[in-house]
Symmetry: D3
Subunit: 68 residues, 6 copies
C-alpha cells in the first residue's frame, strides 16, 4: 500500500520521551539523526521502544531547503 509521501528514511529508534499528549522519538538513519514529535497515543499503540526498526515518513511539502 504505497503512500504519496516522498520521503521514507529507514532507521532504528535511539530514544523515546513520553509526555502527557506528545512523544519525542529519536531515530538513527545511517549517519543522520531524525527527530519526530508524534502523539503519545500513537507511540503507545505502535509500542515504540528503543531498538525498533522504523521508517520516518515526511511529505515533500514539509521540507525546506537552505543553501550552504
Amino acid at each position: 500500500m504505497p503512500i504519496s509521501a516522498r520521503n521514507k528514511l529507514r532507521g532504528t529508534i535511539e530514544e523515546i520521551i513520553l509526555g502527557n499528549v506528545m512523544a519525542h522519538v529519536v531515530v538513527r538513519v545511517g549517519d543522520n539523526i531524525i527527530e519526530s514529535a508524534i502523539t503519545r497515543r500513537s507511540a503507545e499503540e505502535l509500542k515504540l521502544k528503543k531498538g525498533d526498526k522504523v521508517t520516518a515518513i515526511i511529505k515533500a511539502t514539509e521540507v525546506m531547503i537552505q543553501k550552504d
Copy 2:
C-alpha cells in the same frame, strides 16, 4: 543563527523541476534521497541548481513514524 527545527540533512541537489508556482527539489543525502516542494520564487531567489550543496530542514512535528 540556530533554528528550532530539529532535522537538518546536508546533501547535494540532484534535480530541480520548476512549475509556475511550486518547484520540486531532489537532494541526495548520503544513501538517501530527500524530496522537497517549495515555492518557485524561493528556488529562483536561492538560485538553486543541480550540484548545489544544501541542507534539507524539517520540523520534528512534520515527521511520522512507521513501524517496520
Copy 3:
C-alpha cells in the same frame, strides 16, 4: 506496517488535476469530500486515477478545531 499518523480516511478518487509540479486530488469519503495537494510525481508513481480506492492520511498535528 502501521504508521503514527492518526487519521486514515478511506474513500474513492473523484477527480485529479495535474500541474507541472503538484497535483490536486479529490477523494470522496462517505458524505465528505477530502482534497489533497501532493507532488505530481507521486500522483504519477501511484498511477492515481478517478475511481481508485485510496486512504487519505493526515497527521494529528495538522488538524485544527473550529467551534461551531
Copy 4:
C-alpha cells in the same frame, strides 16, 4: 469569512486530553474519527469539551494519499 483550507469536517468532540502545552482532541465525524493535536491554550480559550459541535479543518497540502 471563508478560509482557503479545503477540508472542513463537522463532528462532535468525543474526548479531550490536556497536557501542559498540547491537547489531544478526538472528534467523531460520521463513521470516522478525526484526531487533532492543538495547543492546550487553544483548547482552553475555545472551552472545548466532550459533546461540543466542532469542525475539523485541514489544509490540502497536509493530506497524503495511500493507494489501497
Copy 5:
C-alpha cells in the same frame, strides 16, 4: 466561529500568481510581508485579488523559532 489556529494576521493582498494547481499569495501585514501557497481552486473560490482584506492563518505547530 473561533478556530484553534493561534496565529491570525490581518493584511491586504499585494499579489497573486496562479499556477495550474497551486497559487502564490503575497499579503502585506503592517511592515511585514506574509506569503502563502494555497490551491488554485481556493484562490478562485474565494475570488482573491489584489487589494482584498484578508487574514493569514497559521497553526502554532508550523512556526519555527530562530535565535538572532
Copy 6:
C-alpha cells in the same frame, strides 16, 4: 545561509511554557503576537528565554488565507 521558507518575522519572546515534550513560545512581532509550538528540547538547546530577539520562520505552504 538563506532558507527557502518565505516568512521570517523578527520579534521578541514574551513568554515560554515548557511541557515534557513540547514548548509554547509567544513572540511579539510589531503589533502582532506570533505563537509557536516547538519541542522542549529545541527550546532548551537554544536557551530561549523571555526578552530574546528571535525570528519566527514559517513555510509558505503552511499559511492559509481567510477572506474578511
